[in-house]
Amino acid sequence: MAEQMKKYETPLLDELEKGPWPSFVKEIKAAAEWNPMANDLLGLLERSYREKIGHWKHGGIVGVMGYGGGVIGRYTDLPEEFPNVSHFHTMRVNQPAGWFYTAEALRTLADIWDRHGSGLTNFHGSTGDIIFLGTRTEELEPTFAELTQAGFDLGGSGSDIRTPSCCCGMARCEWACYDTMKLTYFLTQHYQDEIHRPAFPYKFKIKCSGCPNDCVASVARADFSIIGTWRDEIQIDQEMVREYAKNGVDIVKEVVALCPGKCIEWDGNELKIDNSSCRHCMHCINVMPKALAPGKDRGAVILLGSKAPIVEGAILSSVIVPFVKLDDEESFNDIVELIDAILEPWIEEGKNRERIGEFVQRVGLGNFLEAVGLDPQPEMIRHPRTNPYVFYENYLEEE
């Protein structure tokens, strides 16, 4: 009951409500009007801000029966002072591919969480999942039961395949070079066991982007990145290019000069692109979306090994398959085959908490490719036109 709840003074948190942007403090305060858990969270957070100390303890055992992922345990170290956040576990719920919901689905999720947790959610967490913030251990199973009844499932956490995520792809974006949502759904269904039962050295993230704009940042944050691309020529509508120029776009300054491949020419009437030097950065297409578009021969490039930890040690992905068509279930099965081949040596030989990118660095790309069964190719690079890996046999060196 709101009138029985303790009222916390929150001068430091109040600062975070100022300014024109949305504030998580405002939302916690709204939930605190009726939810004791959210109310105590305000008090605990204010105290943490004042003392500059986090008051959360990590819980490593809580979960739902049969699953090893989807629940992240949290307890406060001040349970007497803030009894309503004594337990404050997070639940990760597998999001729909592309993050599309009906209003009814959103209402269902919100109602479930109002009944069983703090009412606070995060749509969406950095993992891509729907995040339910704060509940007690005894509420985990009832929440899970209601979620599954509504057609939802928990996502991944711990040393497993994390919930695959993707951009909105062909549902809303004309630049999508393959159906990211379909592939993500396919992979999610295929790897149910690996998502729910952690059996790896560490986490393994799969992210699908429809084009090189990489809206889900897979090149920086996924162990296995599938990024849409094309291998023919950028489509040009010269009339629309002239229209952009007429309407004030300085094509030389804003497009030609900023092209990393230096492969665009503009003579004031016609735009020419040397596609053999194009790095598929999407810049020109982003500036003139009505005039330019990715080519028609579309597919994806597969990259491996990025990670973005909070403190240090970030790695960007490297190309492992330069181009693959992704237009039918057979091609999706090829992706599964590749993922399985990549996982096998890592599961066998990887150290605890060693991401696949670190594993590849430790064993060497040559050895890794041999274990996976991929032939080295000059396109297996970190950056276009730079830093190529060179492979040659010892006998060549001797000669």
């Binding site: 055992i61 979960g63 090893g68 040393s159 039962r197 059996a199």
Partner: protein, 84 residues
């Protein structure tokens, strides 16, 4: 050809490994799998049997997944961080 070991036999062996080393060693799923294959031999035990055995142990509640800087399989117990 040697007769394959049953999922139940592997599950029992895995449970015993975890129980006997409780407090001294944390088992990852892969460690348990390797240990079971070594115990029964490659001709009698394989990854799929191990996977099923772990599933059996977790679904029955005899083992639970835990996360302490990595995911492990342990016998259910009250953890230090837990508040009542």
């Amino acid at each position: 050809m040697a007769e394959k070991v049953t999922v139940e036999e592997v599950a029992e062996a895995m449970y015993k490994m975890v129980k006997d080393t409780m407090g001294m060693k944390k088992w990852k799923a892969t460690d348990l799998q390797k240990a079971a294959i070594e115990l029964f031999g490659e001709d009698r035990c394989d990854k799929n049997i191990c996977k099923e055995a772990i599933k059996e142990l977790v679904n029955s509640g005899r083992l639970v997944y835990t996360y302490f800087g990595g995911s492990f399989l342990e016998i259910p117990h009250k953890e230090g961080a837990q508040n009542d």
